[in-house]
Amino acid sequence: MSTIVTVGAPRGSISLRSIVGRIGFLPALLVALVVGMSAVDPQFYGLINILNILRNASLLAIVACGQALVIVAGGFDLSVGAVVALASVVTAKTMAATAAAFPGNTALIIASGVAAGLGSGLVVGLINGFCVAKLKVSGFVVTLGTMSATAGVGLMITSGIPVYGMPDVFVKGFGRAQLFGLPTAVYAALAVIAVMMFVQRRTLFGRYVYAIGGNVDAAVVSGVSIQRHIVGTYVISSVLAALTGILLTAQVGSGQASFGGDRMMLQSIAAAVIGGVSLRGGVGRVEIVAVSALFLTILGNALNLLHVDSRLQPVFLGIIMVAAVALDEFSRRSKARV
């Protein structure tokens, strides 16, 4: 298309720096980490370890995609970890209850459990979104509150004891099953990433989320309805967290209020930020966030294999996260106006 072709220096002089600016340092870091670990420890590229990494990265990526969407819109979702736990518990409890009422009706048991789990995420997401959009409370505070409340509800339901009683098909046929040699969670994550990429690039919703995060006042003047879209980001984030909770439940075989938690919440934010999502809003793509989730998972795995003290591991995560944001700021500077 001739109209797209533009003449001028900026196009002609694609430097290494601008390429790095476009895709980031992340893929390079990822490759370096994989190559380095493969050389150091053969256990790293063992099949069991690789499947383990992929499974954990998939779970983190699903949560991080939702988190990224909220941050792009200029918000924050601290409640994702607690939602993972709540959904796990709700799913397991519902399955157990349905199994008692309709014994043997496996399809109904699984459907009701999954629906209840996703529904619990939907409810938390709606509460988050409503408080942020309508009551104008900051997302940080709202989700801090729902995080605490949701974790409490999860503990109340279970009294801290794992919930069993799920159909075998759900655990062995789904949670622990492999398709073409890969765990089901990987396919779930790939599907989520694909859908979210489509949402971000090709839908009105995705475009408006960018606009709202980029400049909320400009979005208002442009006739974008803000509240609906803010609620939408929180709902998606919570439902994806709930999905992660269900996948974890299926894999482990019991519903536990200790799933997810603060660690998952912090990692999802770290994955988003390292994946180039700007905390000022308006910038960030889910596919890079997914790569960043994979990177973080491999990093954690590598530290384990290298027998780094588990108390020291969060220190590495912290350093990496700050360095990523510093690089982001560095590339933002020294940009000229024309």
Binding site: M1, T3, I4, T6, V7, G8, A9, P10, R11, S13, S15, R17, S18, R201, R202, T203, L204, F205, R207, Y208, Y210, A211, G213, G214, N215, D217, A218, A219, V220, V221, S222, G223, V224, S225, S278, R280, G281, G282, V283, S334, K335, A336, R337, V338
Partner: protein, 512 residues
């Protein structure tokens, strides 16, 4: 305000030689020379992107130059930082305010140079000096007020006061009158005259010919980062300056517009806003003509059109669009009714700076089936349409994937105008359309309005620049203190009549 009294050497106060500055591939300054003498007001004149901002940023230490030397007061200055610049007496007043919104005026004035002993603030001393300075400047400013409670004009005053606190030898003013009223501008000019008498050198950036005529000793013209020429203000003509700046001949700043008044498109009856900024206003605008609204900063003229578009809450009154009542206006519905609004502050309300031009330009039309079906965007259609629109508006460089944050004021306004060309609109509300853009871009905006009106649209222009509304509008309303003070058409539409209607209102107010 302390002014350095030490004898300046015979040479210029500031001497720049061969200053160059690059930003990732773009040459913002190319071997620029500049001399500013003590007691001289030196105007920098050029289009947006010509390098004026970069140059004053180099002088005030915000950016380091890549090449070239800088002498200040006869001594070579290297590794200049903003702190050092202030310490040696270089004081900049930037367009983008350097005030902390959550602090008071006084705290801002002393920010970074608080009066302390052993880390403890001397509040009373600072209050005394702040008050003394503000009194001397004659500004109507309360030092204990928070900056975010101030109007833009008052923020500008606080900014100027901040620059004049301490020892000043070179004052840099970047479009200082952009948000000042006539009276405040007069005060500023008196102040500038006083500073010149005290041998302070001034660098003054402005697009306003009237100010250049009133103040300048010499004018340096920049174009595309290069020094074009330095002229004596007294012996140069306006035409000469504009020609040098744009590199092309511009005969007329304001186009001749063929108004063909048709039916009433916007009819406002007894409109009062919730915050009281507009009270009992009646006015109308017709298709095929430009309706101007003039008035001082803060008179309610912006709020009036913002209310029609649906951003300011209305408490009573009626708005009719094309004869039909339009209740509870909201931006989305306004767009559907064919009303577009172009905000004065394009950074705050216009653009998402982190997003590409394409997304910014298509922001207002994505609800149309041509751009999205069932919530899924039609990207190819969007790209082609926006590329065409931005080419029609002569966006330079014509790359629609650049982020809006990388654009100059003129190009940002073009992105805003681009929104108007993407959907069917009949009413255009322009709020201070030429603030912060250069003469060349202004001309393009005026031509744009001309095309709209001649195609039969209703255009309402709100502006604090009197010559602009006078020249563009067919009928002109004058607002004062939230009310319509006068309606002037054709021959009555003169600067004297507009100013007289301000004064009449003033007298009435004083009698009451």
């Amino acid at each position: 305000m302390d002014v350095a009294t030490d004898q300046t050497p015979a040479g210029p106060l500031l001497a720049l030689r061969g200053i160059s500055k690059r930003f990732t591939g773009i040459r913002a300054l190319d071997r620029v020379d500049l001399d500013v003498h003590a007691g001289e007001l030196h105007v920098l004149f050029g289009e947006n992107g010509a390098g004026k901002s970069t140059l004053i940023n180099v002088v005030s230490g915000t950016f380091a130059s890549d090449e070239g030397t800088m002498h200040f007061g006869g001594e070579e200055v290297r590794h200049l930082t903003p702190q050092r610049a202030r310490a040696i007496g270089i004081s900049p007043v930037f367009q983008e305010f350097s005030l902390v919104p959550s602090l008071t005026v006084e705290e801002n004035l002393f920010l970074g140079r608080e009066v302390t002993s052993g880390g403890v603030l001397h509040a009373r001393e600072m209050r005394k000096r702040a008050t003394a300075l503000i009194d001397e400047l004659g500004f109507d400013l309360d030092p204990s007020q928070r900056v975010d409670d101030l109007s833009r004009a008052h923020q500008q005053m606080a900014e100027i006061a901040k620059a004049l606190l301490g020892r000043v030898r070179l004052l840099i003013l970047d479009e200082p009158t952009a948000s000042l009223t006539e009276r405040e501008t007069g005060r500023l000019f008196e102040l500038i005259a006083r500073l010149k008498n005290q041998d302070v050198g001034l660098i003054y950036v402005s697009h306003r010919m009237r100010e250049i005529r009133a103040l300048a000793d010499r004018v340096t013209i920049l174009r595309d980062g290069r020094h074009i020429r330095t002229l004596d203000a007294a012996t140069s003509t306006d035409g000469e300056l504009v020609e040098l700046m744009t590199g092309r001949k511009i005969d007329l700043l304001y186009p001749t517009i063929m108004h063909k008044p048709d039916k009433v498109m916007v009819d406002v009856e007894n409109l009062t806003l919730a915050d009281g900024s507009v009270r009992d206003v009646n006015f109308h605008a017709r298709a095929g003509e430009i309706t101007g609204i003039a008035g001082l900063v803060g008179c309610g003229k912006s709020e009036l059109i913002r209310a029609i578009y649906g951003i300011e809450p209305i408490v009573s009154g009626m708005v009719r669009i094309d004869g039909l009542p339009y209740e509870f206006p909201a931006p989305r519905r306004s767009l559907k009714h064919g009303i577009a609004y172009f905000p004065a502050n394009r950074v705050a309300e216009g653009l998402a700076l982190s997003r590409p031009i394409r997304e910014n330009a298509s922001m207002t039309v994505l609800d149309l089936p041509a751009f999205a079906r069932f919530g899924v965007l039609r990207q190819a259609a969007e790209r082609i349409k926006i590329q065409g629109v931005m080419e029609a508006l002569q966006l330079r460089p014509p790359n629609i994937e650049r982020t809006a944050g990388a654009l100059s004021g003129g190009n940002r306004q073009k992105v805003m105008l681009g929104r108007a060309l993407t959907r069917e609109l009949t009413v255009f509300l322009f709020d201070e359309p030429s603030v912060g853009i250069d003469v060349g871009a202004k001309l393009e905006v005026y031509e744009f309005m001309k095309r709209l009106v001649e195609a039969g649209a209703a255009v309402i222009v709100v502006s604090s620049e009197l010559p602009e509304v006078l020249a563009l509008s067919k009928r002109l309303y004058v607002m004062h203190h939230g009310r319509i003070a006068a309606e002037l058409a054709d021959a009555e539409k003169t600067e004297q009549n507009v100013l007289a209607s301000f004064f009449r209102e003033h007298l009435v107010a004083e009698v009451a």
